[in-house]
C-alpha cells in the first residue's frame, strides 16, 4: 500500500540510526586512544588533585617528552573514591597508563594482574637507595609493580604553651621518644591544662584506620603474621595495644569525636588548633595550617614508642596499569619520576618526604621547617617491614575496613579489647579465606 509506508522500514532506519549513534558514543567514550595521528604515543598519568603536584608532574612529563620524541604525556586527576574509580576504568580498559597509588591500595592490583611488572625499566641501582620496607611496597617475588615515590608518617606535635605550663620538655631524639606510660603521664597533665582532652590521633576517614597499626607494632605485635597473610590480632601484644587505645577514651584523654569513622576530616588537627588538646600524633600535612594559625606555638617530638618503634606508613608509589598500550614507555616515565634528582625536586616543591634513603632535608632544601621535616625523615626509618608487607598485601583494603569496624567498637568501649580481638580475627579470617 503506497499510503502506508512499511513500519519495518522505519524501525530498521531507527535501529540503524541507533547503531550509528551508539557506535559514535562509544567511540567518544574511548578516551582518545593511546596512539595519535602521526604515530604519537600518548601516556596518561593520574595523580591526586593537589595543584602543586600536578604542576610538578607536568614539568617532569615535559622533560620526558622532550627526551622521547613522538610521545606526549597528559597529567590527569584521580577522582572520587579510589577503588571505585580504578576498578571501573580497568573494566573498561581505560585506566591511565601511570597511576599514583598508596601502599595500602597497591596490594590488590599487584596481585590480580591489574598492574604491570616494570622491573625491566627500573635501573638496578634504585634498589640500593631504598630501605627494605619502602622497596617492599612495590616489589613482589615475580617482579616490581610499583616504585615508592614519597612517604610520610606520624610524629608527636605539641603545644609549646601547654608544655611550658606543665614544665615538660618533650624528647627530641628518636632514642628518647616517650614510651606509652610516659606519654600517658604527660597526657594526664596536659588534660588538666586544656580542660578538655589531652591529645588526638590523625585519622581522616574510615579508610585511614590503618594509621593506628603502628601502636600494635610498637608493642611487639603485628597485624598479620610472618607470611604476610595470617591474621595475628589475637596475640597478647595486639590485645594489650587495643587496651592501651581504649584507655585513651576511658580516661577522657582523647575524645570519641576523634575516631577513624568520625566525619569532617582530620578532627585531631581541628582540636589542636582550637586548643582542646595539647598534643597530637599526626603526619606532615598539618604543618602548613599550624604555621598559619599558631605560628611559633607548636613543636614536635618523635612518635611515641613502647617495646619497639613504629610509625604510620604514608605516601605514594607510581605504577603502570594493564590498560597501558605502551607499558615500556610508561615504565620509563615512572623510572624518571622516581630518579633521585626528580624526587628531590618533587619533594621540595610539594613539601613531601623522599622515599630514597640518600635524600635528607638539607638535600631537599625545604622552604621552611627543615628540622621538623628531618624529624619526619628520621621517623620513617622506624616503619617496620612486617607492617609494610601487611599494608601492601593483597587483602588489605578489606582487612583495613574490618580493622576500622572493631577498633572503633573497642575504643568506644562497646567491646572489650579481648572481645574486639576475637571478633576482628573472625572477620579477618573470613576475608583471607575468601
Amino acid at each position: 500500500m503506497p499510503t502506508r509506508p512499511s513500519p519495518q522500514l522505519a524501525r530498521r532506519g531507527f535501529l540503524a540510526l541507533a547503531g550509528i549513534s551508539l557506535t559514535g558514543a562509544l567511540a567518544a567514550c574511548a578516551g582518545g586512544g593511546t596512539t595519535g595521528r602521526g604515530g604519537t604515543k600518548h601516556i596518561r598519568l593520574s595523580t591526586w588533585n593537589i595543584p602543586t603536584d600536578i604542576t610538578s608532574y607536568q614539568a617532569i612529563a615535559d622533560e620526558f617528552v622532550a627526551a622521547h620524541p613522538g610521545t606526549s604525556v597528559a597529567v590527569e586527576v584521580t577522582t572520587g573514591q579510589f577503588h571505585q574509580w580504578f576498578i571501573t576504568r580497568l573494566a573498561a580498559d581505560l585506566a591511565p597508563d601511570v597511576i599514583r597509588i598508596t601502599p595500602q591500595q597497591i596490594g590488590r592490583y599487584a596481585a590480580n594482574g591489574s598492574l604491570v611488572d616494570i622491573s625491566g625499566a627500573v635501573p638496578a641501582d634504585y634498589r640500593k637507595d631504598y630501605s627494605d620496607p619502602f622497596w617492599a611496597i612495590g616489589a613482589r617475588d615475580d617482579g616490581v609493580y610499583g616504585v615508592f615515590q614519597h612517604t610520610d608518617n606520624f610524629i608527636t606535635y605539641y603545644n609549646r604553651d601547654v608544655m611550658e605550663q606543665i614544665g615538660v620538655t618533650p624528647p627530641q631524639a628518636l632514642a628518647d621518644a616517650w614510651t606509652w606510660d610516659e606519654f600517658l603521664d604527660v597526657a594526664k597533665e596536659v588534660k588538666q591544662v586544656t580542660g578538655k582532652y589531652a591529645f588526638g590521633y590523625g585519622w581522616s576517614s574510615p579508610e585511614t584506620a590503618y594509621r593506628w597499626l603502628p601502636l600494635v607494632h610498637q608493642n611487639g605485635g603485628a597485624f598479620l603474621g610472618e607470611d604476610g597473610a595470617t591474621p595475628s590480632m589475637d596475640t597478647p601484644e595486639a590485645i594489650d595495644a587495643l587496651a592501651f587505645g581504649r584507655k585513651w577514651y576511658a580516661e577522657g584523654l582523647a575524645t570519641t569525636g576523634n575516631l577513624s569513622k568520625s566525619g569532617g576530616g582530620d578532627v585531631s588537627r581541628n582540636l589542636f588548633l582550637t586548643g582542646q588538646i595539647g598534643m597530637m600524633l599526626n603526619n606532615p600535612e598539618s604543618i602548613a595550617q599550624l604555621d598559619t594559625d599558631m605560628p611559633d606555638n607548636w613543636g614536635t617530638a618523635p612518635m611515641i614508642r613502647n617495646v619497639g618503634e613504629a610509625s604510620d606508613l604514608g605516601g605514594n608509589a607510581l605504577a603502570v596499569t594493564k590498560s597501558s598500550k605502551h607499558p615500556e614507555l610508561a615504565a620509563e616515565l615512572v623510572a624518571m619520576i622516581t630518579s633521585r634528582s626528580k624526587m628531590q625536586q618533587f619533594c621540595h616543591d610539594g613539601n613531601w618526604l623522599p622515599a630514597r634513603k640518600s635524600l635528607d632535608a638539607k638535600d631537599i632544601g625545604y622552604a621552611a621547617n627543615t628540622d621538623t621535616m628531618q624529624r619526619f625523615i628520621d621517623q620513617g626509618t622506624t616503619i617496620p617491614l612486617s607492617m609494610v608487607k601487611a599494608e601492601s598485601g593483597e587483602y588489605f583494603s578489606s582487612l583495613n575496613a574490618v580493622f576500622a569496624d572493631y577498633l572503633d567498637l573497642c575504643l568506644l568501649g562497646q567491646l572489650s579489647p579481648k572481645e574486639a580481638s576475637n571478633q576482628m580475627m573472625e572477620a579477618m579470617r573470613s576475608v583471607t579465606a575468601s
Partner: protein
Amino acid sequence: MSLRAETAPVRTTASTAPPTGGLPAGGGARRSRGRFVPYVFIGPAALLFLGFSLVPIITAIALSFQDSSTSLGDGTWVGGKNFVDMGSDPLIGTALRNTLVFTLGTVPTSMAIGLALAVALNRPLPGRSVFRALFFVPMVAAGVVVGVIMSWIFNGDYGVVNNLLEALGLGRVPWLTAPGWAMATLVVVVVWTRIGFCMVIYLGALQSVPAELKEAAAIDGASRWVRFRTITWPLLRPTTSILLILNVVFSLQAFDVIYVMTGGGPGFSTTVLIQYVFRSAFIDARMGYAAALGLVLVAILLVFTLLRQRANRKAEEML
C-alpha cells in the same frame, strides 16, 4: 475563531489527500519522514536508557551469579552462591535493621513536615517565594557537601550545635559518636534535605484542590481542620502515595551523607544496606556479591511499590 479558520484547511489537506496512486510529488517522502520523526525524538532518550539503564541492569543481574572477586568483568559463574552467602553474613541483618530504622525515621517525618510547610505556604504570605526557595535549597545541595558541613555543625567538641547548647547551660550531646545519637542525627540531616522536595510536590497538589469544595464546606460550618481532613487530605492521596514511594527509594539509596558523616559507625550503628553494597563492591572487591545485594535492594523496593499501589487502588475504589 480566526485561528481555527486559518488552521483547519491545512489539517484537512494533510489528512484527506486522495489515495489515487498518483500522489503529489514529495508526498510519500514527507509521510515517510513524518513517521520517522518520532523515532528521532525518542532516539537519544532510548539510547541513554539502553546504555545507562538497561545494559547495566542486565549486566548486574548476570554479575550477581558470578564470583567476580578480582575485578569487574573477570568473573566465573557460581550460580546462586552469592544469594546463599547472604544467609551466613552477619552484617546483612545489621544493615537491614539500620536501613529499616533509617527509612522509618526519615520518610514519614519529611513528608509530614513537607506537607505542613506546603499548607503554610499555600496562602498569600509576604516573601512566600523566598521561603519556598529556601526550603528547597537543601534538596539541590550535593550530598557530600551537606555531609561535610553537617559533620562540622554536629561535631561534639567544636560544632556550633553543642556550643549553642553549652551556652544555654545544657550539656553537650555526642551527636555522631554514640550509636543511638548517630542514627538520630543522620535522620535529622536527611529530613532537612528532603522536606523541600516534599513541600514542592505537595504545593503543586494543593493548588489543584478545588477551592469551591472548601468554600462549600466552610459555608456549611466545617472548621479548618475538618476541611483539611475530609477534603484536602483525601484529594492528596495520589500525591502522598507517589511521595511515599519516592521517599522510600531515596532512603534506601541514601549513601553520601552517611558515608561522609559517620562512615557507617560508630561501630556498625549506621551501616545501611546501600553502604554495604558499596563496601562489598569497592572495598572488598566482591562485585558479584555486591550485585546480588543490589538486587535484593531492588526486590525490596519492588515489593514495597506493588503493595503501596495495591493499597492505593483499594483506597480509590472505596472513595
